[in-house]
């Protein structure tokens, strides 16, 4: 099956490592991924706050472009790795289908811009594609460097598994944990998998945002996680880039690598680090050591 790829703005900037590792992993697994030509920003959370109609319309432009690009396919599967993009695109389709007036209005303005939405689009998360389409058996067969018991705390963030249909439970999602296990790691069983990291609050109201991120990392450390793996560029940014600030603000040392699940997966698939954006991380994963006998678990 062929997939279209919707990167979104973060994957071209602060979350570049996510794009690099996703593309490398999909290439290695021979899953065809084609970028949507001339895609625009999904609108994220900010757009909804200013003008909802415009938010739906600009998100829908991407859906129409995708259908145009795959004009002969009965179903167009868009892989959206960023959780905000994933949720906004899902939400746009949901509102267009459940609220007749919104659907009509958006279709009308799209046609005035020379575009058409035929509702052939399915929004997919890379975790969903890897676990449910590619399949765990195939994934396990492709592994070259198993992880040797690395304790990875899967952190899904909020928007990946929250409303407007999803591929996993919104209370205790397991897809990332399954991947960690398949790679030879130990999934950490913890309760903050979907608790909010603070999102843009870390930038706008640091007093609030920093605390939210801290709660998550502190809990991961309490569970003796070697690494936190995530599937969202903003979560990764919040959890990784402010660790020193957290340590000085809250008095507990926070020092733990926060990687994209695709980086860990790529590593296990034998992809060189230089293709996975590992050098872009602030907290280098090379310092992960296992608690038992100091054996290196991250090769």
């Amino acid at each position: 099956m062929k997939y279209l790829y919707y990167p979104g703005c973060s994957l071209k900037s602060t979350g570049r490592a996510y794009e690099e590792s996703i593309l490398a992993v999909f290439k290695t697994l021979a899953i065809s991924l084609e970028e949507i030509d001339d895609w625009n920003c999904c609108g994220a959370t900010a757009y909804m706050a200013v003008d909802e109609c415009k938010a739906f319309a600009i998100a829908a432009r991407n859906l129409a472009l995708a259908e145009k690009q795959f004009k002969d396919e009965p179903e167009v599967h868009i892989v959206a790795p960023c959780s905000a993009c994933f949720m906004v695109l899902l939400k746009t389709i949901h509102y267009m289908n459940t609220h007749k007036e919104i659907g009509q209005n958006i279709r009308k303005v799209l046609s005035e811009a020379g575009l058409k939405f035929e509702n052939r689009v399915k929004i997919r998360h890379p975790l969903d594609v890897l676990v449910n389409d590619y399949g765990m058996d195939n994934l396990m067969r492709a592994i070259k460097n198993p992880l040797k018991g690395l304790r990875a705390a899967s952190y899904y963030g909020c928007q990946t598994v929250r409303p407007f249909e999803s591929f996993d439970s919104n209370r205790n999602p397991m897809t990332m944990d399954k991947i960690v296990q398949a790679l030879g790691g130990q999934p950490v069983d913890w309760s903050l998998k979907t608790r909010c990291c603070g999102a843009s609050l870390t930038g706008t109201i640091p007093e609030v945002g920093l605390r939210l991120s801290y709660i998550i990392l502190h809990e991961a450390q309490q569970h003796h996680a070697d690494v936190v793996v995530t599937a969202c560029p903003l979560c990764q940014f919040n959890l990784e880039c402010y660790q020193k600030k957290m340590t000085s603000a809250f008095g507990h040392k926070i020092d733990i690598p926060v990687m994209f699940f695709s980086q860990l997966l790529g590593k296990a698939l034998g992809i060189p680090e230089s293709d996975l954006g590992v050098k872009r991380l602030f907290v280098k994963p090379s310092k992960i050591h296992s608690g038992q006998g100091g054996k290196r678990v991250y090769v």
């Binding site: 900037s13 415009k54 609030v208």
Partner: protein
């Protein structure tokens, strides 16, 4: 914050040395009964009246303890018509859109979308906290995407810091440098090629709105 706060319980007497006497309740006639319908309309017919005030939203919300009114109270206040209090509250600007309340609400109310509806009404009425960073970010982001079709994160961060507290921009220099050296940020503008079609789309939307 330099916004004009409409004080719901204005002091009857507050001269120095005197007792601070305030009316703690609101009279029926002071409520805005059109307000719940306005917000319901903006939120596409969300059913506030089926809310049973159980407080699950406030319990599950990761930031409710920072809010002046918790989500449960906001719903109650919207449907009774506490317009000034709701539009001036910090609550909606603290909402991080994590959708936890929407997932957990036993009555199926899309609370996150109600928060969005209130934000839009507050922006439209011009009563949002002007230098509060959340609406500054929302507006800066909105304008950037309107123009270029994509968001340029480096420029966006600068705008937010300068629009709220310029000193913070210096405080975050180190982070900015690190992001720059790991190739995670640049000051270059991200743009789509076909900005004409985006413009046509937005113009069509404006016409649609005028027609209403």
């Amino acid at each position: 914050m330099d916004q004009p706060r409409i004080v719901p319980n204005a002091a009857v007497s507050s001269a120095p040395g005197e007792l601070d006497v305030r009316r703690r309740i609101k009279y029926e006639e002071e409520l805005d009964h059109a307000f719940p319908n306005r917000i319901a309309e903006l939120a596409h017919g969300e059913k506030f009246y089926s809310c049973i005030q159980c407080g699950t939203c406030s319990g599950t919300c990761p930031v409710s303890h920072y809010m002046d009114y918790t989500p449960r109270r906001i719903i109650a206040m919207v449907r009774e018509g506490f317009r000034a209090e709701v539009l001036n509250s910090q609550t909606v600007w603290l909402c991080a859109s994590c959708y936890a309340c929407t997932c957990d609400c036993p009555r199926g109310i899309k609370i996150t979308d109600v928060m969005y509806a209130i934000k839009r009404e507050a922006i439209e009425q011009g009563v949002y906290p002007k230098r509060f960073p959340t609406p500054v970010l929302a507006n800066a982001f909105f304008n950037q995407v309107m123009k270029d079709g994509r968001s340029s994160e480096g420029k966006l961060m600068m705008k937010v810091f300068l629009g709220t507290n310029p000193f913070k921009a210096f405080g975050n220099m180190l982070l900015g440098m690190k992001l720059f050296f790991t190739g995670r940020i640049s000051m270059k503008s991200e743009r789509i090629k076909d900005r004409k079609s985006l413009k046509a789309l937005l113009a069509a939307l404006d016409r649609l709105k005028e027609a209403k």
